[in-house]
């Protein structure tokens, strides 16, 4: 197993191994609930909470759970926390609960959570597991917020419900409709891969430059 420092565990999920943008996991909620910033935020927080709780519990019980039934045990743990989150949202913020609808329950099948439990929490001590879960949760939340901001600002001309451009603005309705979700995420991924390509080119350029200097 590769040794990592605590700060690496925390930071990896936020940008370098961002669950949505780099690992391309958990696309269902990323596309479905990001038509407003408020929905994205609620979804991000709910997923963050479930991810942290289940990672901690998985890590705590990693010595008790036999390898053979680990996936079933993970699902049990995750489903429990999602149900709790669902009930809390319904009790505290009924309007948001109604807007997110079935997609709260669908956090259960968000591959990010099962993925982190299997790939990280089941093998590491509690502290590290929590850091990793926080990192990935924040990474997921940030991505949702970017998607939500782009879609709400362009699609309804508002941010968190406040009008931005005045009455003269004709909203690009397409961005709050389903195709807008695909479009926004597509362009976001394009941006990420463009940055990666540029970084690779630079590295190659630097190598070539260094080689040239050596030759000279």
């Amino acid at each position: 197993m590769k040794q990592t420092t605590p700060s690496q565990d925390l930071l990896a999920g936020i940008w370098k191994e961002n669950p949505v943008l780099i690992q391309v996991l958990g696309l269902c909620p990323t596309l479905a609930v990001t038509n407003t910033v408020a929905n994205s935020l609620a979804m991000g927080i709910a997923t963050f909470a479930v991810l942290c709780c289940s990672s901690v519990l998985v890590s705590l019980s990693r010595k008790v759970i036999p390898n053979e039934v680990r996936i079933s045990a993970f699902m049990l743990i995750i489903a429990t926390f999602v149900t709790v989150a669902d009930m809390c949202l319904e009790a505290l913020v009924p309007t948001i609960h109604k807007a997110l609808g079935a997609f709260i329950a669908l956090i259960v099948v968000n591959c990010i959570i099962l993925g982190r439990a299997e790939a990280f929490a089941f093998k590491r001590p509690v502290g590290r597991a929590l850091l990793d879960a926080c990192g990935n949760g924040i990474g997921f939340m940030v991505t949702l917020l970017i998607m939500g901001s782009v879609r709400e600002v362009l699609g309804s001309g508002t941010f968190l419900g406040f009008s931005l451009f005045g009455p003269g603005f004709e909203p690009w309705v397409i961005f709050v409709l389903p195709p807008g979700g695909f479009l926004t995420l597509g362009f976001l991924l394009l941006f990420v891969s463009w940055r990666e390509q540029r970084a690779a080119l630079r590295a190659a350029g630097a190598d070539a430059g260094a080689a040239a200097r050596r030759v000279a």
Binding site: L76, T83, M87, A91, P94
Partner: protein, 228 residues
């Protein structure tokens, strides 16, 4: 097909290298059972803790909607639709949760001011659900509020958000008729449809007319039964 072809491919890839220490199946079952028990307990606790707030929210939402479409009556009671009649209480042996509810608004002297009912039908995108109120005879509408819709933002969702459209339902004579905005002749049954959202507007009108036609005999029967 030969036997070899039928043999499951996955079995060939089962790792034969150092098998992990054997875990008895009893332990597997036991672990899951204990885990399930703990999770179940946690859920029961969370359910108990949140239930009052959730129910309160739901009741409050219904109350707000009913008050809005019945023009804030003094109080209102829920009636149940059972056996082609409106009854004040679910008959013994029938689960009240499974019965359709109609809300009866009452004024300060406990005289009925009108009924509010919920209905839904396919709209432009998905099913539109709304609640509307009518007077005690089911002849005049008192108000309409969309509860659930996925109509196009900016066009179809005006059935939910456009105040001029919604306010027309107050005082309209049933059955209502949709007319193109500006083409109306001022008759009481006319509703100006939203420009660019004709299908959504027609859906709202259709839902109300269909539901009212189905319910009017029940409303009238209830009035005769309990009337002076």
């Amino acid at each position: 097909m030969t036997e070899a072809a039928l043999s499951p491919p996955a079995e060939q890839s089962v790792p034969t290298a150092p098998a992990p220490p054997e875990v008895s199946s009893l332990r597997l079952v036991l672990t899951l059972a204990v885990g399930g028990l703990v999770c179940g307990l946690l859920l029961v606790l969370a359910f108990q803790a949140t239930l009052p707030a959730i129910q309160q929210n739901k009741e409050a939402a219904i109350e707000r909607a009913v008050r809005e479409v019945l023009n804030a009556p003094q109080r209102f009671v829920a009636l149940f639709v059972h056996g082609g009649k409106l009854v004040a209480e679910a008959p013994a042996g029938v689960d009240a949760k499974g019965l359709e509810r109609v809300f009866l608004g009452l004024d300060a002297a406990s005289r009925p001011v009108g009924f509010a009912m919920v209905s839904g039908e396919p709209g432009f995108q998905d099913t539109v659900r709304l609640i509307f109120g009518c007077d005690a005879e089911g002849r005049t509408l008192l108000g309409m509020k969309v509860l659930e819709s996925k109509e196009t933002p900016g066009l179809g969702d005006k059935i939910e958000k456009s105040a001029p459209f919604i306010s027309q339902f107050k005082g309209a004579a049933a059955p209502i008729v949709g007319v193109k905005a500006g083409d109306g002749s001022g008759k009481a049954e006319e509703i100006d449809m939203i420009t660019g959202a004709t299908i959504s507007s027609k859906t709202v009108i259709r839902i109300i007319n269909n539901k009212l036609e189905k319910m009017r005999p029940l409303l009238e029967a209830y009035g005769v039964e309990t009337g002076p």
